[in-house]
């Protein structure tokens, strides 16, 4: 009788322990939602340098300045191209929405002296010949993917969750991504992108980040296309957050003036 009672107690204890363990373990969706929900400043400005390196080791450098404003419902971004010389004076503006609405995009080409609305339907296009697509540079909502926590592991001496994300909708350019998320800061340290055939296509690594005015800000990232042996490093300098960028920064006047 005593043995029976003891067995029952042990069973109840281990059951409760297991339930507690499941409760403390976050799901893939929760982890990715935390990454998405990291506080972002209302506005940010920075000088951006993009270094493209091909398989021969040749480097091409693009420089631009960018201003971003986000009121919670809509993100406005404007970029002014500084180099190389043949694109100097070009500006690009993007308004993106928290709804299903497509982004609005305009480009100003100094040779044409005219601001032109352009189609935003090509998010799979590569940005300025880099390894980043327009989609890679934007925020992808966690609800667009199914997430699965694969494991926990140490990467570069830091404890990470490893989460696999698979698009819910068909036709996305990536079959899946696998993200290493820092456990203590909820930011992505590394992400592998797999092509439509399920082969590793690109690897994104965060090289440098800083806390700027209370916001975790990525200052340097590298995207390597392992299939084409091509890499792009994006680094930010002179980052300023919450400086109160005027709404007039995101207008035709600003695009035309180039600042």
């Amino acid at each position: 009788m005593k043995t029976k009672k003891m067995l029952l107690l042990l069973t109840v204890f281990f059951s409760l322990y297991s339930i507690q363990q499941v409760k403390s373990q976050q799901t893939g969706l929760q982890i990715m939602q935390k990454v998405y929900d990291l506080p972002t400043p209302k506005d940010m400005q920075a000088e951006l340098t993009m270094t493209l390196t091909n398989k021969q080791g040749e480097k091409r450098v693009r420089k631009l300045s960018q201003f971003i404003s986000n009121d919670g419902n809509m993100e406005k971004k404007i970029m002014f191209f500084i180099s190389p010389a043949d694109v100097k004076g070009t500006s690009f503006m993007n308004w993106s929405y928290n709804t299903e609405k497509d982004d609005d995009q305009w480009i100003y080409l100094p040779a044409l002296k005219r601001t032109k609305r352009i189609s935003s339907g090509s998010k799979g296009d590569y940005f300025m010949g880099s390894d980043f697509t327009y989609d890679d540079l934007g925020d992808r909502h966690p609800n667009e993917d199914n997430h699965k926590l694969l494991r926990e592991e140490i990467l570069k001496g830091k404890a990470c969750y490893v989460v696999e994300s698979t698009p819910k909708a068909s036709g996305h350019m990536y079959a899946k991504t696998i993200t290493w998320v820092l456990k203590d800061k909820s930011i992505g340290l590394k992400r592998d992108f797999y092509d439509a055939n399920g082969k590793l296509l690109k690897t994104l690594e965060m090289k440098k980040y800083e806390n700027i005015n209370g916001y975790l800000t990525v200052l340097e990232t590298e995207m390597k296309n392992v299939q084409r042996n091509h890499a792009t490093v994006i680094s930010l300098a002179n980052v300023k957050v919450n400086q109160g960028i005027a709404g007039s920064k995101f207008t035709e006047r600003s695009m035309t003036m180039g600042r």
């Binding site: 043949d86 308004w95 609405k101 497509d102 044409l112 189609s119």
Partner: protein, 411 residues
């Protein structure tokens, strides 16, 4: 002499350094453009070396830009000019720009409907780059901004006409005269008077839903009307002498343009109503061979990206109202344009096909080209300008098919 050269060099370097410290920026390009006629590979259609320099400075309140250019030709005189030279004043909601400037309006591409302030340089027909096909015009421009709305007023005190090809140029358009005329240029230059100035107004807005422009102006039409005086031989009653007097006439224009995003598409449209434009006619009721008519010019276009290929098509129509028999132009002239453009090798290689197609005369100008960025800022471009048809705006140049190469270094 050596001393002078030395001091001039020192002065230039010093001035350049002082200006550089003061954030005066220099950029521009050097370009070689060589073209040959396909009908006769022994004949160059153009051999041109270009220096284009932009000197500019902007502070919070003021700015200036000077854009001198030099065209050196193998078979023509050196051409030095100022494409732009203006001063800027910036206020909180207002900008003022005074001087020679290019002002571009409208949503159409490669077609000039409401884009009527900066005259065109048609000495090489429609072949130059868009930056070069529009000439600067001396003007006072004021822009007032209120949110996404802009009102722009332009006053042009000096009339500048379209630059037409010189006599003997392969780009001289077909002449409609039965005999070789005598030219009378007495009215082709407008006096510098307040009465001869031009005025334009534009309202524009840029929003998430659509972009809009409404424009109007009173100005001299940039292409001349050819007024004819015929002298008949009384004995034979044959035309003995013909005098042609080019003149520019004032017109009024009102119009607008818009572009709307529609999913993956961008729909564009532009239209203008011209009151009092002069046309050439053979009608006996017009003794000097010109007649005044109102005129509509409009366009609808679509932009789309498919598989990384940027595609664009435009349908353009010109419509002479209250048309009369004898007018040299068609009552309705329809044109289409097509563009397909794609980049390869991470924006190092661009392949493009642009075409104008004249629907009335089944003529066309087809412009395939390939550009390769040999290094950052250094482009090698090769292409062709192919004319089809035997009459019409493009067919008249059927003998001018050309292959060309451009080497351009931007700095």
């Amino acid at each position: 002499m050596k001393k002078k050269l030395f001091f001039a060099t020192v002065l230039l370097v010093t001035v350049f350094n002082v200006q550089a410290q003061d954030e005066v920026r220099f950029n521009g390009y050097v370009r070689n453009y060589t073209g040959v006629l396909m009908a006769d590979f022994n004949q160059f259609s153009i051999v041109q070396n270009t220096l284009n320099l932009n000197i500019e400075k902007k502070t919070d309140r003021i700015g200036f830009k000077v854009n001198p250019y030099v065209y050196h030709y193998a078979d023509r005189e050196l051409e030095i000019g100022l494409r732009e030279a203006f001063l800027d004043l910036y206020f909180d909601n207002l900008d003022i720009r005074v001087g020679k400037q290019q002002i571009i309006w409208g949503k159409a591409e490669g077609v000039f409907i409401t884009d009527i302030i900066s005259p065109k340089d048609l000495r090489e027909f429609l072949l130059p780059d868009f930056e070069e096909i529009r000439t600067g015009v001396t003007s006072f421009k004021v822009n007032y901004y209120k949110g996404v709305h802009t009102i722009e007023g332009v006053w042009v005190p000096v009339f500048t006409p379209t630059l037409m090809p010189e006599a003997g140029s392969i780009w001289q358009p077909d002449m409609i005269f039965p005999i070789e005329p005598t030219w009378d240029y007495s009215t082709s230059v407008k006096d510098l008077t307040l009465q001869n100035s031009e005025a334009f107004l534009r309202y524009s807005m840029m929003s998430s839903a659509f972009d809009l422009e409404l424009v109007g102006g009173t100005f001299f039409y940039d292409d001349p009307a050819m007024h004819l005086t015929r002298q008949m031989n009384p004995a034979t009653m044959q035309l003995q002498n013909l005098t042609v007097r080019p003149d520019y006439h004032r017109v009024s224009m009102g119009g607008g343009s818009f572009s709307i995003p529609l999913g993956d598409l961008v729909i564009r449209a532009e239209g203008a109503y011209y009151a009092g434009r002069n046309f050439q006619t053979t009608s006996s009721t017009a003794p000097d061979a010109t007649i005044e008519k109102d005129y509509l010019h409009y366009m609808a276009g679509i932009d789309y990206t498919l598989g990384g290929v940027k595609l664009s098509a435009q349908f353009i129509q010109e419509n002479i109202l209250n048309y009369e028999t004898g007018i040299y132009n068609n009552e309705i002239e329809s044109t289409m344009t097509f563009l397909a453009k794609k980049d390869f090798l991470r924006e190092r290689l661009w392949v493009e096909l642009f075409a104008y197609v004249g629907l009335n005369n089944s003529d066309a100008l087809i412009r395939p080209k390939v550009s390769y960025a040999f290094a950052d800022g250094f482009d090698i471009q090769t292409g062709a300008n192919l004319f089809t048809g035997d009459k019409g705006r493009f067919g008249q140049y059927n003998d001018n098919d050309m292959l060309y190469m451009k080497l351009k270094y931007s700095f």
